[in-house]
Symmetry: C2
Subunit: 297 residues, 2 copies
């Protein structure tokens, strides 16, 4: 259970999964070429692949065939990538850089970015339905429903809408939590559950796993807010980061850095407690919880 | 088989289906309210519901329970509505009016319109997966795949990308056809096949139905182009309509009105021929082909 081991495990999965994504995305030689090139640009060579790693870890816990988890992880990553492309557009966050590269609408154009996001969402559902992810087709339909609900107006897109509406407003802590449970939490939970659904777990175990997902989904956001605030503190010599500059409510603007750190540490502990019944089979999920909370970037 | 009968049939289904949509869309009282209100605004009280009518007609042919076809038809209509909301945005067609009302981004704002489209697409896949549409779950998974493929980069979104890239370019007739087979044809075919998949047809019958769908999907577009050109001819006293003004290749700009009319009439005949083996059970599909080709708006 050394950090080296986790590093090797995650690096191996990240490298392998990159090839999976390359294979599952439409080729840039296939019409419409520009759209397909832009889809590949927006998904490949980017990010820590936290959601796929969570899916693989949950799949291992549930004894799933990794070849099946690949499709579930790819579906989730397509949804995540589409949300970033759309969030970066001028009518949303108007970001020009993402993962060190120009954002999709800058590298291509706005119309293409809009269609890239739309087509990546369709691709996610195609991946979940055209391959066998579970021998029980009824279970697999539930997986489609799970991802659809996590992505839609009562999931990720809804959280994004609450976020957009909250700019310049003073949110309460429950309101902020409500937003993040939807905006980032829903898809993180879906990644974990979809990975597990490729294998076999009892319903009670699924609930424990879901509670783990809920905790680390929130912790992920709290840590993001702290990192944003502290990066600026170090590099710009002020205590608030770009979120605060954007008049965006965050855990740090609401709680301050010390209480936000305490919150992420509490959520970390609660996430690990949710895994207590699983023994060593959940080690990767534990290590991912550590990684999410203790990361420095 | 009188026109009255068809009128009654389609009016009844339209009225009934509007209630189905009202029920399946999230309530505007549910958080996030503004997003849900905008989703309802973009889907309800609008359009001829051609795709749902095709699904209902194909469902009747296949002996499907209309309660099941409702979900398939609603899923297709959510995809159609999302595509209209996104196509109307400033970075695409920049339209301010749709079905006699301000477009979504005008009535609300661009960020909301973006999220409305995203969330409607998720809702489509949720509808196809959370209800029983076929007793055979494997068949139902194929339905999810069918809609995903029809919506994505090698379907509707891809056709939209080709359209966007073709502005100001001279397309050949095969290129124009390639675009429309994707942009409008794919979803029309999906509507018909999804309706039929709620019931029982042999594979050969499915193929005939798909050929019917391919023909009327194209005819639909050719007729649209003719109507656009002729409306302007009558009202503005010039032979080319707004598509030509926009430097947009159409069947009329490529073929002229007489040859475009001949083409729609040929496609109409071919569509009816594809149904010849079905007898009276396909009467609504025949009537819908007539309606699509002979409509004046």
């Amino acid at each position: 259970m050394s950090p080296d081991n986790f590093q090797t495990w995650s690096n191996d999965h990240q490298r392998r999964f990159e090839e999976v994504l390359r294979h599952l995305l439409p080729s840039a030689d296939t019409s419409p070429r520009r759209l397909h090139a832009a889809m590949r640009y927006s998904v490949l060579d980017g990010g820590k692949r936290v959601r796929p790693l969570l899916a693989f870890a949950a799949g291992e816990l549930a004894g799933a065939d990794v070849a099946r988890v690949n499709f579930a992880a790819a579906a989730v990553e397509m949804i995540h990538a589409y949300s970033l492309v759309h969030d970066d557009m001028p009518c949303m966050d108007d970001d020009v850089l993402r993962r060190g590269k120009p954002t999709c609408h800058v590298e291509y154009d706005e119309a293409t970015a809009l269609l890239v996001g739309d087509a990546l969402q369709s691709l996610a559902f195609q991946l979940l339905s055209e391959h066998t992810l579970n021998d029980d087709a009824t279970r697999q339909l539930q997986m489609v429903k799970l991802l659809a609900a996590a992505s839609g107006s009562r999931g990720m897109a809804g959280g994004q809408a609450i976020d957009t509406d909250s700019l310049g407003k003073q949110l309460t802590l429950p309101e902020l939590e409500h937003m993040h449970i939807h905006k980032t939490g829903a898809l993180i939970r879906a990644a974990i559950l979809l990975g597990a659904h490729c294998g076999t777990l009892h319903e009670k175990q699924m609930k424990q796993l879901d509670h783990y997902g809920k905790c680390i989904g929130l912790a992920f956001q709290v840590v993001d807010d702290v990192l944003d605030a502290e990066a600026d503190t170090a590099t710009l010599g002020k205590t608030a980061g770009k979120d605060a500059d954007n008049d965006k409510p965050t855990y740090v603007t609401l709680l301050g850095v010390p209480a936000a750190k305490q919150m992420s540490s509490d959520l970390h502990r609660e996430a690990l407690e949710a895994l207590s019944g699983f023994g060593d089979a959940a080690r990767r999920l534990r290590e991912l919880a550590d990684f999410i909370v203790l990361r420095k970037y």
